[in-house]
């Protein structure tokens, strides 16, 4: 049986390699889509740019928060919002600004932060100071990272301005109890030097990241993380039309009669064909993901990583490929001519790709459209790819997606075998 399958698979691969049209559709088309769409839409997926709007919530009311808001405002990198429509900004108001996109992040200074900063030095470092950055999950790490870094630096400085004078006073008082007299001018100079020179040297302030209330923790993709798996998936499904054309071609050539006249089980015949086309699918994935990782960053696009378990990409690709190739068998069974197979295939693939979030990510779609998208194998394929790429998903996490993809494959295969015209 293996000899037979390999004979069929090798022949179908040879046929495909000799078909430039097929190679263009399967490789060049998704490649061009990825490149053009990533460049065109890179702004859409990562809001940000020169002016970073930051909502500032002062629950502290002490010198620490006062220092910080002042240095944020004067640093030049931030547009600091401290007031909402109802006066001083509170946390829900600030989160509202983040969710609506009016601010890229909100900075929450919890009550008692100033006291905690002072205590940090005077009581041998037992006090903790924690401030919170709230950001939209859609914010790309390329934007959030610098914000976080800048806030950290400015907060350290602000904290030191608060803590240092108390510390120096303590030091001076200790020295004086030892019978040494410290001139007041020296003490003042020490305070100033400590505040400016030592700022940022220690970790006085910890930053906690949070999401706005009611927003799920899913990280949203950037342009590359969206487009590379999406258009790879798109390209993978085009294999279906090639497979359908291949079978209809064989029927017209009469070679199908030869295949059927051989002592070969029909399932083996189909399996041999699927083997060839699944292999082509895997090569597509390798080529297109390599493009995303190695080439796109050279165009100034964000770097894509393959996640903590890149080997799971093979599982996802296999499940997607089985669904796509089985869909090809289904097309070959329902279509009478190659033109029909291509027409029906193109429409179904385009609609499925749209519903599945290939062209427009599903998170921007209204709820009912997201629910309709569940009937699209692209939805589950894209979700599984992005889980592996962006959320370091293990096998267990993508198992439901894989299961649904295999259900699609089984359904297409069953209808194909049922409706196939063998004569």
């Amino acid at each position: 049986m293996l000899t037979v399958m390999l004979a069929i698979a090798r022949k179908d691969l040879a046929l495909l390699i000799r078909d430039p049209g097929a190679l263009i559709v399967l490789f060049l088309m998704p490649l061009i889509f990825i490149l053009v769409m990533s460049l065109a839409l890179s702004g859409l997926y990562s809001p940000g740019g020169s002016a970073v709007a930051i909502a500032f919530v002062d629950e502290d009311g002490g010198p620490f928060s006062a220092n910080l808001v002042k240095s944020l405002a004067t640093s030049g990198g931030f547009d600091v919002l401290t007031n909402g429509p109802n006066g001083k900004l509170d946390r829900p108001g600030a989160e509202g600004l983040v969710v609506s996109g009016k601010a890229q992040a909100a900075l929450i200074i919890p009550p008692g932060s100033s006291d905690a900063v002072r205590a940090r030095l005077t009581r041998s470092g037992t006090g903790t100071v924690e401030i919170v950055i709230v950001s939209d999950p859609a914010l790309s790490p390329q934007v959030l990272g610098p914000i976080r870094g800048a806030v950290q630096g400015l907060a350290e400085q602000a904290a030191f301005l608060v803590a240092a004078p108390g510390g120096i006073d303590l030091l001076v008082s200790h020295l004086q109890t030892g019978g040494v007299s410290v001139p007041p001018e020296f003490a003042a100079a020490l305070k100033q030097q400590a505040a400016s020179g030592m700022a940022g040297a220690g970790n006085l302030v910890a930053i906690k990241e949070a999401l706005p209330a009611g927003i799920s923790s899913d990280r949203r993709p950037n342009a590359v993380e969206q487009n590379v798996p999406a258009y790879t998936l798109f390209g993978l499904f085009f294999i279906a039309m090639r497979l359908a054309s291949n079978i209809i071609d064989e029927k017209q050539l009469g070679t199908f009669r030869r295949l059927l006249a051989a002592p070969v089980r029909r399932a083996t015949l189909f399996a041999g064909k699927l083997l060839a086309f699944v292999l082509v699918n895997l090569v597509q994935v390798a080529v297109l993901f390599a493009l995303g990782v190695l080439v796109l960053p050279r165009f100034g696009l964000p770097q894509m990583t393959l996640g903590a378990h890149p080997e799971n990409l093979i599982l996802v690709s296999l499940a997607v490929s089985l669904a796509a190739t089985s869909f090809g068998l289904f097309l070959a069974a329902v279509a009478r001519t190659e033109a029909q197979a291509n027409g029906i295939g193109l429409i179904l693939i385009l609609v499925s790709a749209m519903l599945g979030g290939v062209m427009v990510p599903r998170f921007v779609m209204p709820g009912f459209m997201q629910r309709i998208g569940w009937i699209s194998p692209h939805t589950w394929g894209l979700q599984a790819y992005q889980d592996v790429l962006m959320r370091d998903a293990g096998v267990a996490a993508i198992l439901p997606d894989l299961g649904i993809l295999l259900l699609f494959a089984a359904a297409f295969f069953a209808v194909a075998v049922w409706r196939f015209r063998w004569n």
């Binding site: 037979v4 004979a7 022949k11 000799r18 050539l253 009669r257 006249a261």
Partner: protein
Amino acid sequence: MPTMVEAVGLTRRYPGASAPAVDAISFSVDEGEIFGLLGPNGAGKTTLISILSCLTPPDAGSAQVGGRDLVRDQNAVKRMTGLVPQELALYPSLSARQNLLCFGGLYGLRGADLLANIGRVLAMVGLADRANDRVETLSGGMKRRINIAAGILHAPRVLFLDEPTVGVDPQSRNFIFEGIEALRQAGMTILYTTHYMEEAQRLCDRVAIVDQGRVIALDTPRALIDAHGGVVMLVVEGGDAAPAAQALAGLERIVRASAADGQILAQSRNPAAILGRVVEVITAAGLQIRAVEILEHNLESVFLDLTGRRLRD
């Protein structure tokens, strides 16, 4: 000689067709025999081959190949048989060798065995030097020869050749004939369909004449020709041809005479010798002769005699 193919009452009607394509056909083929199925296009020859090569199940009847039942023991029958379909069933964009690698693989051949078989069949069809050429670059006749090579690659005991010489040049035709004769020498049993009576006459040990899904005569070509003889065919007008045909039937040396559609057929062992008398009788009957044709002893005249139609109509 043991029987290699035994068909009993094979019948197949395609959905929606008014008449069965194959209608209760029975025959048997001995081992090592070249058995011809001669008939016009549409007679049911290809359907019969499809049934025997397990591509189309029969609606009724049964058949055995090499003692194995066609329906119950399909894989055994498929392993024993080779099919050379009427259409060129090859992948045009692949080379001859790649095509044969695929088709050999279907029968479980591989490695050195497969390559040796490919070399053997390509030599047999005279195309060993074109093994690496893409099939689409070969001439029509060469494609036909590769088509045959693909059917005999796995050394079947029974070969079904469905109109293997359609549209080929004389050189390729001779290669094909010589190849078929070599296969017979090697002991292969061959079922050969054609609508060229010369081929049936030259190659076949026995011929079944098939028309409208039925076998209407079955014997050696010699016996068929002797039984049906030559034919004088006349196209007449100016009245009813039936009385003239009746008058002809009574004449000496005329075996049989018939009339249909303004056409009179008179059959004789020596058609040229009776022509003068035939013309006299018809003119006397008040008919005008528009055309006359004499068909000497051959399978064409047998078919004409049996059906009133010509093979290549």
